[in-house]
């Protein structure tokens, strides 16, 4: 704040008696103060004791932001765990990472299933399948209570899932021995995914028709979606309509957009897993 006399005084030069000292707001300028002023000549006429706290605050915020980007993942996980007991009240859903889903779609909206919806299983199989939802539900089912972890950082703990194990479905369709990978497509027309036979075995992936205690809703990818435990959410393709057994792994939509093909949240498959002797192959 420009106090009288502290600005570059053109009046001082104008003569008229004593030259004006470079002195802030009428206080007696001690030598120390004069030195201090001399060191910050661009300081806009601030009285002694004025500090650039604004700049420091901005720098502190920038530092906190950088820390948050580097380590925020862990903080967010802690917050999600803390808020989990509140989740049933619905309050937690209003808080970022409060344990609710952030629902993504890569098309304009949430696609509606075609009226004659069928889940197709074909490719390297002996008995291609065209399953209605009731037919899928009639197959031996698997129940899971597992977290849904998004690659962008949010997580929904303890989600209830019901569906048919992907490997069971492959057996049911009579998968041929040369089939090594699954290729999934969605009826939204864009979303694709892939999973190796080994990853399906290791993760216990299911073709889910029930989620959160009810049939899978349209937003969550109903009527049928994939759920791959232990892997980031983008592997769990929504609005699933077509499973093809192939012998070459292809990149799905999100992998083409830069996400790793190896989507294990831990970075590697669960250590408790024992390789089944018949399908031993490298991780993708």
């Amino acid at each position: 704040m420009a106090s009288p006399g502290s600005g570059p005084s053109s009046l001082g030069r104008a003569g008229r008696g004593k030259p004006k000292p470079f002195e802030p707001s009428g206080r007696a300028p001690t030598g120390a103060q004069a030195k201090k002023k001399a060191r910050q000549p661009d300081a806009p006429g601030d009285a002694p004791g004025e500090k650039p706290i604004g700049r420091r605050a901005v720098i502190a915020i920038l530092g906190l932001g950088a820390l948050g980007i580097a380590y925020g993942e862990h903080v967010q996980n802690g917050i999600t765990d803390l808020l989990t007991p509140l989740r049933s009240s619905g309050l937690a859903n209003l808080v970022p990472g409060g344990g609710g889903f952030t629902i993504y779609t890569i098309t304009g909206g949430y696609p509606a299933p075609p009226p004659d919806y069928r889940l197709t299983v074909d490719g390297l199989v002996n008995r291609p399948l065209q399953l209605t939802v009731p037919e899928l539900e009639a197959l031996p089912s698997t129940r899971l209570v597992r977290d849904f972890q998004c690659v962008t950082g949010w997580r929904v703990p303890n989600v209830h899932w019901v569906g048919v194990k992907l490997t069971d479905l492959a057996k049911h369709a009579g998968a041929r021995p040369e089939a090594t990978d699954f290729w999934f497509t969605s009826f939204d027309g864009m979303y694709t995914e892939s999973l190796s036979m080994l990853q399906a075995e290791q993760s216990g992936a299911i073709v889910a028709y029930s989620m959160l205690g009810a049939p899978v809703t349209r937003e969550h990818g109903g009527p049928v979606r994939l759920y791959v435990p232990g892997m980031f959410g983008y592997k769990s393709i929504k609005w699933l309509s077509h499973i093809s057994l192939v012998k070459q792994l292809e990149l799905g939509y999100w992998e083409l957009n830069g996400y790793p093909v190896n989507a294990w949240i831990a970075g590697h498959p669960p250590s408790s897993f024992r390789h089944p002797p018949q399908i031993r192959r490298g991780y993708s």
Binding site: P4, K51, G65, G72, P96, T107
Partner: protein
């Protein structure tokens, strides 16, 4: 008081109104306000499930949010990139510098109410109080963090996955903070209609400044006094020069 130099209108003239914000500052404020509103609305439509279902058109909403975010610093940069930004630059320097009065103002924040107001009324606060200075620092620093984390969310490929998770965390929580702080900013503006009007028309009364910004008023008065003094000095010099010419001219004159 001597009349200031012709051509330049002094701040304390024109009745008892003072120039608080010039055109450039007001333009920056209101473009920022509009962009911020767009960001809040589109951000909510991207984040809250019921709104996502209601609004849909995710790609379009995403694009508007992205462009509005990238545009947010542009008005400020434009305003600072020329001589027209001198008032804004001066106010930014004011935001940066904290006087001992500002620090006192902030320290009494936990005092019970009537006492706090009494304490603060005695402080010689400048054009901006410590709350406004904190708000400015938050908007500047937080805005940059929002921009950086938002850009990282959009162009995530070169970075580790955990940064993307961290950027989501920072962007979400800071957005909540921003909404709270800006809501407070709007409520305070609505509670002080004079201050709000000065953001529309630029001027504020001398009595307002006496109550809220006494040190700023001192500063303005000192400036007026300086200008007046300067005007008289200039006039004096001109007189002397004329006098010199007159005396020097005579001998050589035919």
């Amino acid at each position: 008081m001597t009349a200031p130099t012709a051509g330049r209108t002094s701040v304390t003239e024109r009745g008892s109104m003072l120039a608080r914000f010039d055109r450039v500052e007001r333009a920056v404020h209101w473009t920022n306000a509009i962009l911020f509103a767009v960001l809040v609305v589109t951000g909510a439509a991207l984040y809250f499930t019921p709104l996502i279902a209601l609004v849909g058109r995710r790609e379009l909403v995403e694009r508007i949010h992205l462009y509005a975010g990238i545009a947010l610093p542009v008005p400020l940069i434009l305003a600072l990139s020329g001589s027209w930004g001198h008032a804004l630059r001066r106010d930014i320097r004011r935001f940066n510098r904290w006087s001992s009065a500002d620090r006192r103002w902030l320290r009494v924040i936990f005092q019970p109410q009537p006492k706090r107001s009494y304490t603060r009324a005695r402080l010689r606060i400048g054009k901006f109080n410590a709350g406004q200075k904190l708000n400015a620092a938050f908007v500047a620093g937080g805005g940059l963090v929002m921009l950086a984390s938002g850009l990282l969310l959009r162009w995530y490929r070169p970075f580790p996955l955990s940064w993307r998770a961290g950027a989501t965390f920072v962007h979400n929580w800071l957005a909540v903070l921003f909404v709270i702080v800006i809501a407070g900013h709007i409520l305070m503006a609505l509670a002080d209609r004079q201050a709000l009007k000065s953001m529309f028309f630029g001027r504020i009364s001398r009595s307002w400044a006496e109550r809220h910004a006494p040190a700023w008023l001192d500063e303005l008065d000192a400036q007026v006094a300086r200008e007046a003094e300067m005007a008289s000095v200039v006039a004096q010099n001109a007189d002397e020069q004329q006098g010199d010419k007159a005396s020097a001219g005579h001998p050589a004159a035919p």
